[in-house]
Amino acid sequence: MNPTLLRAVSSRLFWPIVMLVILVAINVVAFPDFLSITVTDGHLFGSVIDILRNGAPTFIIAIGMTLVIATRGIDLSVGAVAAISGAVACSILLGSPDPGAVGTVIVAVAAALVTSLVLGLWNGFLVSVIGIQPIIATLVLMTAGRGVAMLITEGQILTVDSAPFKSLGSGFLLGMPVAVVIGAAIFVVAALLTRRTALGMLIESVGINPEASRQAGVRARVLLFAVYTFCALSAGIAGLILTANQTAADSNNTGLFIELDAILAVVIGGTSLAGGRYSLAGTLVGALVIQTLVTTVYTVGIPPIVTMVFKAAVVTAVCLLQSPATSAAVGRLRYRISARTSRVKEAAAS
């Protein structure tokens, strides 16, 4: 192996990308026109576009989850927050005389997002002020949240008929599905916000060593509030997309188990659950792997019940490949080779 290839192999994104390529290859073999994209009415269509659109909610939540996990935390309540967000939007739409008006939809969406924000502040409060362990703190809202959504919808599945709202889930913008555009926008915002400012470094610092960070003057409390709020906000947005897609708010099923997929996407993307260094690009790849996997299971004709088993297999494989033992082995190989090349260079020089 040559050194460039070796460097690529030891990069955190290497194995997730390999996995993605393998999945795509399987699909291409099964369906030769898997990669083909057609343009109808100026809108893009094709399997790849479907994957992007269907994966968008998970991806959006996974972005928020990445930042939470980077601080050594976790947010189990995202699915419930998504359900609440959808319930709030739908109940406002249904309660208004003109659900199809753009103004009404804006109000409904804004209310849903404000609600999500408040829920995020609640999580942030439990974790940073009260000091409850994140897994427990967010479990509170995970279990209570769907009850809250039920209260809002009065136990009903609220079906709405509102074209502007529906377009959040199935509309197109600039040729791409709206959900994909929203996902891309949130990704860019999160990346700029954390990497162009010092936010990313401070988040990582708190995640790696909270006490040392405190002594260095890092405001852990504010950072925790910020990441949990951002995560809940992204969950709220994902909830709107999911609800718009079904044109119905279903308190029991909207965003069910989506927290698990989001966490998986983060982990596959190489961000450690122990906190610290995170990679938003990795999370993107992770989310794509998960969604492509789900699609593959369908298209190849494996019964959907087995999907979970396949997910488990992929996660296990990626985690094994990213494990310290594997990277140590790769690293050792790397020393050997760089030693050999430098010896050759020395010999050549003399």
Binding site: A198, L202, A216, V218
Partner: protein, 531 residues
């Protein structure tokens, strides 16, 4: 001190075979050749020291021996058998017991559990708790350490944790005992106890490898030395046959002169200078269970040394001044203004920096780079939305890497991959980067080699001359006396004396620290004003 005389007859004894023989060892890390063709021998019944600057490769050589790092070339022979350990446990099983530089114990377990982990005494198939505590108490007594074996390890100071790690290592019957900077945070008394144990193990034929940056200790306890420089072997010497200046010269490759100059200057200052303007004034400042209320005045540009035994309250006092722990009584004026420090953050915004003695758990962020670690406090103070411009970050990192001689000189290196001494320098750089008005240094030179130590002392001194106030804690009294204008003595969590450093000697200070020739009840002289 008597032992060095017999060295000649001892080593290398005719026909003696080394218990450990490493030949031609090389280890490469990405971008760093940590060891390059190094050979090393260790004989039964000797105390052998590995010497070298920070980053010379001492810890790496030890880890090569115990299998923590795989070697890229070379051979390791233990007891005549070629070996290649798969890790510390395998080395331990083969009779090589090691205390690594970074104490690796479990803070959430008790002292006794830490000492006997994996070797718990058993009874009826379960762990025999009582026998365990008894055994642990015996071992601690062997080191003359009076702590409750049932207490949580994490509740003890770093020095005690270090001693517990040593107790754990000597619990097993081993032929080789390796101690990587075991004395870096110990006071003279604890060092004496440790040396007593080392001597008795040595006399019973154990081979001991002892790493330390304290030359006094090296000359007191070791028989032979192996010197490394930049990952290469410089040579193997009998301690008695190598003068100190020659040793230093071999370690750093040039001569060292700076240390004594500082002492003379500091001393001259204390005698002639007028009392500087107050920077900080504490009255009755204290915290229950940590430190009794104390009065302390810190002048601008003044260097104050804190002296005291382990647990005397030095660190506790420093932490209150640095805003790490909150005071629950008394008041503090900073630059004339009444101030309450509720968090390190508030202290930092007033340009007060506290550098913890515990660099690993309270100092460095090991998965961030050298550059990120250096700018961290400055950045946190500016706020996340005002990132330090890239160019400025680069300048800061480069300038401190140079000033403090941080190696490897790579701002992108992860701090976890630096040698212990270099990590300490990174931490220091972080605090210097905020341009502090008051710099509180708790054991800042722990694990730092003598060349760098002189440089750091010089730097601190220069900064003090330019108006920065310094509070300085060191287990090394010579260092305290060399740098300080005033020395504050603590005992049993009380401030018991506040003295001008005017003709103070180590012995006088020791007497004060130990038995209190200053009457506890007597009111203290008003600070500074008497002279």
């Amino acid at each position: 001190m008597t032992d060095t005389r017999e060295v000649r007859e001892h080593f290398p004894a005719d026909g003696a075979t080394p218990v450990v023989e490493m030949t031609g060892i090389s280890i490469l890390f990405p971008g760093v050749k940590a060891l390059d063709d190094v050979s090393f021998r260790l004989f039964p019944g000797e105390v052998h020291s590995l010497m070298g600057e920070n980053g010379a490769g001492k810890s790496t050589l030890i880890k090569a021996l115990t299998g923590v790092y795989p070697i890229d070339s070379g051979t390791i022979v233990v007891d005549g058998q070629p070996v290649s350990f798969t890790g510390p446990a395998a080395a331990q099983a083969a009779g090589i017991s090691t205390v690594y530089q970074e104490v690796n114990l479990l803070p959430n377990l008790s002292v006794a559990e830490n000492i006997l982990l994996g070797r718990e005494p058993r009874r009826f198939g379960g762990i025999d708790g009582r026998a365990m505590r008894r055994r642990a108490a015996e071992l601690l007594e062997g080191l003359n350490l009076d702590i409750d074996p049932g207490s949580l390890l994490g509740s003890h100071s770093l020095a005690i944790q270090q001693l517990v790690a040593i107790a754990r290592a000597i619990n097993v019957d081993s032929k080789v005992l390796i101690l990587d900077e075991p004395t870096s945070s110990l006071d003279a008394d604890e060092v004496a106890e440790l040396f007593r144990v080392i001597r008795s193990l040595r006399d019973s034929g154990v081979a001991i490898l002892f790493v330390s940056h304290f030359l006094d200790q090296i000359y007191e306890i070791t028989n032979r030395l192996t010197v490394l420089r930049n990952g290469r072997l410089v040579g193997e010497y009998l301690t008695t046959e190598l003068l100190r200046i020659d040793l230093v010269q071999k370690m750093i490759g040039k001569e060292l002169t700076t240390l004594d100059e500082i002492g003379e200057r500091a001393h001259a200052d204390a005698v002639t200078a007028d009392r500087p303007a107050d920077y900080a004034r504490a009255e009755g400042l204290g915290r229950k269970g940590a430190i009794e209320p104390f009065d302390l005045v810190i002048g601008e540009g003044e260097v104050i040394g804190l002296a005291g035994l382990l647990g005397s309250g030095r660190t506790e006092l420093a932490r209150i001044l640095g805003g790490i722990d909150r005071a629950d009584s008394g008041q503090l004026d900073i630059a004339g203004a009444r101030t309450r420090l509720r968090s390190p953050r508030q202290a930092i915004s007033r340009r007060i920096a506290y550098s913890s003695e515990n660099r690993r758990s309270e100092g460095i962020i090991d998965d961030l780079t050298v550059r990120e670690n250096i700018v961290l406090a400055l950045q946190a103070d500016r706020g996340w939305f005002r990132p330090i411009p890239k160019k400025r970050r680069e300048e800061l990192a480069q300038s401190y890497i140079q000033t403090l001689n941080i190696r490897p000189a790579n701002p992108d290196a992860l701090v976890r991959n630096l040698s212990g001494g270099n990590q300490q320098k990174v931490l220091l750089a972080r605090w210097l980067a905020i341009a502090p008005r008051l710099l509180i240094l708790d054991e800042p030179t722990r694990g730092i080699d003598i060349g760098a130590k002189a440089e750091i002392q010089k730097l601190v001194y220069t900064l003090a001359e330019n108006g920065m106030s310094v509070v300085f804690i060191s287990a090394e009294l010579e260092e305290v006396l060399r740098l300080s204008h005033r020395v504050v003595v603590l005992r049993d969590r009380r401030l018991v004396a506040d003295l001008e450093n005017d003709g103070l000697t180590v012995d006088a200070l020791l007497a004060l620290i130990a038995d209190g020739s200053v009457d506890d009840e007597a009111p203290l002289a008003p600070l500074g004003e008497s002279s």
